[in-house]
Symmetry: C2
Subunit: 238 residues, 2 copies
């Protein structure tokens, strides 16, 4: 009997934004697998998981390196090693809880494993988590979607190339990976008359959390998780 591979979303950072189900899976799984950006580096998802669920005696911690690179060969090699390490545990009949920040299906390394799930050759269960998208909105207290609204979520550089169309079609834009693009976003949103309707959120739910209007001078340290949220319409009279 092979084990089950769980993709466990541990939420945006605050340990108490983990779900009750995630805590239960993390306490019961004999193996906790966690992605890290470099060998010897640390996994933020693992830190959140430990803070939320503690360390369980006898539980194996399997840190897997997913290098932050676009080089497909380096990614393939890393992914193959991760799949192999997980498969050997599943073949031993052990369940593996693979932890990811936010939600496992939103910009997560778990997607690499899901794409290889034939290779993993076992049952796969996804435990959804509070995503960075809702965490950013909660920090800024800005609606994501109301009534018949449409919501678009995409990386900031990609949005910059297509802003007028996005503004025309969507009531809310959530622009991720925005830290290095704040000046360009400020210019583009000012040109669209939307600067007063845009907020910057860095490190949502984490100790360094910062929330500001994009119109204000905003300086975000490099490496911070940073998003811009834009409400493209004036609110209706209620």
């Amino acid at each position: 009997m092979t084990g089950i591979l769980y993709g466990v979303g541990v939420g945006p950072g605050a340990p108490d934004l983990v779900t009750v189900r995630a805590v239960a899976v993390l306490r019961r799984a004999p193996v906790i697998a966690a992605p890290r950006p470099a060998a010897g580096g640390t996994s933020l998802a693992l830190r959140i998981a430990r803070a939320a669920a503690g360390e369980v005696a006898g539980q194996e911690t399997l840190e897997l390196t997913f290098p932050m690179t676009r080089d497909p060969e380096a990614r393939r090699t890393a992914r193959a090693a991760a799949v192999e390490a997980i498969r050997s545990r599943l073949d031993d009949g052990k369940d593996v809880a693979f932890v990811t920040e936010g939600d496992p299906l939103v910009y997560s390394t778990f997607l690499d494993l899901l794409a290889s799930s034939a290779a993993v050759d076992g049952r796969v269960v996804v435990v959804p988590g509070v995503s960075s998208i809702t965490a950013v909105a909660a920090a800024a207290r800005v609606p994501l979607a109301d009534g018949d609204d449409a919501l678009a979520v995409l990386p900031a550089p990609r949005a910059l190339g297509d802003l007028p169309r996005l503004v025309a079609g969507f009531e809310t834009l959530v622009l991720l990976k925005a830290g290095r693009h704040l000046a360009a976003l400020r210019d583009a949103l000012a040109a669209a008359g939307l600067l007063e309707r845009a907020w910057v959120v860095a490190e949502a739910s984490r100790p360094g959390e910062r929330i500001a209007r994009l119109a204000d001078h905003v300086d975000v340290p490099p490496g911070y998780f940073t998003a811009v949220i834009v409400r493209t319409r004036a609110p209706e009279a209620r």
Copy 2:
């Protein structure tokens, strides 16, 4: 000292998809406020909250009617009554936890209160939850966004009027309120060559959960929470 108004997302339906923070707020708040669609009706969010956090001795339950209507006058009247009921508790120095299915900022009645928060005249805190968006994806085990992907979330009827543009601009579409539009979606997605890349999910994470390919015959009871998720591109070789 006025109380704090908490908007508490209780997740998509399964009681163990509530966060640890939501459980803590629900146990500590002297007043649990919950939206219901009709006087005498029941609140699904309240049922989830009770299943997750239990009933606390001495805690007040304040059921507030938000009629399912587009009539602005009826909505205004209901909202004013809800705001007034909440404000009187806050003025007494009591914290109020207003529960919503999913996340408080995603298609939720809490947005009515947030828009009236000047009237509520107190501090407002949003506790994000697992949204229906990630719950639907988790049920179907379909990625929401990978790499530089863009994600669009909108009501199905609105998407039907704009499908080619959405498909061109977004790798993933999550189409909500889809129950009565499955046949039209099937036709439109077949015409776009995407029928094999679309899934129907009803009652994600709830006892009546159903997952099917849209290509298959799908019959969803009226009143079910139903979404269609579409991956618009073939997966890249990994």
